[in-house]
């Protein structure tokens, strides 16, 4: 009797150690895989990176050299235009839903933003294609920016909301007590205090689309040349990586690793900046 009680206790103790040990192992393992990927991308990519790689356009197969310069430029142009669309729409919608909208409408908008945030980017790419590519019969950077702006909006809306909510009520009341009008309170007090949070949201949104490839396949489409006209098909870094990676040529694989290193550095820098700048106070609930 006491023997079986003892073994029961032992089994429970063993279970305790087993599960705690397993959970530790798994979390360390997953974190290690991230490091593994980072180290591997660095190791493979660093040899490809040179001044020429950063400043030249791709060369045809068989011609040595060439780079992703036009892709980097393309990414910058596409994301800049997307930001110009998404930032005003996102921030203003965020302001409306937090401060002015009737509760039911606010709830609906919040829900819509959350759902939109998780719509597959390829479906958004199809939408951009139908709206901005098909009617004009040519691919364009502009349609890619449109798709990217839709990916950015929900993040900006939700972080704007969360940043505004974090402004202490005391501050608003103080502004009002000093005789500020509604709009003065909003622009001189609330938005000033909420700015770091909104910036964080913007950085996260830029990080998200920087790593995005799928919608570009049938919007920006890619290009072998230097293109700045947003009404033309344009190269983009992550799209170049994709094209190079699935090609059968070893030289192009090396180019892909070089591009991947650039891309991952850009994205991780952006995410870490957002994290440090606002230390997890803003949650977009994604």
């Amino acid at each position: 009797m006491s023997g079986s009680a003892l073994s029961f206790a032992r089994r429970r103790r063993f279970g305790n150690y087993f599960w705690i040990g397993l959970s530790a192992l798994l979390s360390v393992g997953i974190a290690a895989i991230l490091l593994l990927i980072l180290v591997y991308v660095f190791y493979q990519g660093v040899t490809s990176i040179s001044w020429a790689f950063l400043t030249q356009v791709p060369h045809p197969v068989g011609v040595p050299g060439g780079g992703v310069g036009n892709g980097i430029l393309g990414s910058a142009v596409i994301i800049a235009i997307a930001t110009l669309i998404a930032l005003p729409v996102g921030v203003l919608t965020g302001i409306y839903l937090t401060l002015f909208a009737p509760p039911r409408l606010a709830g609906a908008l919040r829900f819509a933003a959350d759902v939109l945030a998780s719509v597959p980017s390829i479906a958004i790419g199809l939408f951009a294609y139908e709206v901005l590519v098909a009617p004009f019969h040519h691919f364009s950077a502009l349609s890619a920016s449109f798709a990217f702006s839709i990916l950015m909006m929900p993040l900006i809306i939700r972080t704007t909301e969360s940043a505004i909510r974090l402004v202490p009520t005391d501050m608003r009341e103080a502004a009002v007590a000093l005789g500020a009008t509604e709009l003065q309170t909003l622009f001189r007090c609330i938005l000033v205090a909420a700015r770091p949070g909104i910036m964080t949201g913007l950085i996260l949104a830029v990080a998200r689309v920087t790593g995005e490839t799928a919608p570009l396949l049938f919007t920006a489409f890619g290009s072998q040349f230097w293109v700045v006209n947003p009404n033309q098909p344009m190269a983009e870094l992550s799209l170049q990586i994709f094209t190079y990676a699935i090609s059968p040529y070893k030289v192009w694989h090396n180019q892909a690793w070089g591009g991947a290193l650039l891309l991952i550095m850009a994205v991780l820098t952006l995410s870490l900046t957002a994290r440090i700048a606002f230390r997890g106070k803003v949650t977009a609930n994604l």
Partner: protein, 323 residues
Amino acid sequence: MGDGATTTWAAGSGRVSRPESGLARHAFMLTVKAATAIFALIMAGLVLVLVSGSWASLRHFGLRFLWTSRWDPVANVFGGLPFIYGTVVSSLIALLLAASIGILSALFLAEFAPRRLSGLLGILIELLAAVPSVVFGLWGLFVLAPVVQRDIGPALQAAFGFLPIFKGVIYGVNMLTASLILTLMIVPTVMSISRDLISGVPGRYREATLALGSTRWEAVRYVVLPMVRPGVFGACMLALGRALGETIAVTMVIGNRPSISASLFAPGYTIASAIANEFTEATSDLYISALIELGLLLLVISILINAAGRLFLARLDRDGGRA
């Protein structure tokens, strides 16, 4: 977050601030409402445009599209079943793995790990979610796929070869590789939401359980975890939604063959990768329409799954699960 109604700046019932002179306020409200209208228009447009784009295919194939598996652009016959099968199977396997790993590591970070270790591991796992899809694809194609073909595949076949899912020739780019890459991509979602929920459970529940003589694991497993179950379930739904729509990484490692095979070692195809690979090469209008219908299907499924996931999370919020 809960007391949203009282923290709006008009301070609940009565307007506290001086109203604006009419014109400025009018102009401002108009701008703000216009922006919101643009956002709402995009939401509605997304669904409407995809429905109108796939209209030809919807009319031509009807519901048959969902369960016929002949995908023949030359004959203009399109059935989406192989893609639906590949999407569902790869995502469900990924969800199964990611849920187990994600929940256990969330428990470790929230309950067992020393604070600093927990912070460090948490950041690393969350950064995994920031790794671009194309980089996962690249790594999956050149590093993971060979490992699956050479080591993981044969090992699984040796141990469980009697199961149909582990039979047959082992390819490098196959369903299993795609599921493993997807697992890595969605683990952070499960982990970080679950961890936050678990951390939110007040300490007194653990103390009470421990005082009754439970082990630390038992307190967590039988008291803390059940309290946050709906939220964790919601987190898993969000992760599933992410897996279903993931495109580029999957396209690079799944093999892109539109056939239905029981074996996980055989190449497959997903809805998203079919669109990615074939859309710019689609020649006939019906072909394009069929691909857009696939996109619409993906959109509808992901909206439903995400809405459900968020409702579960919201329910937990309201019931005070995180008190």
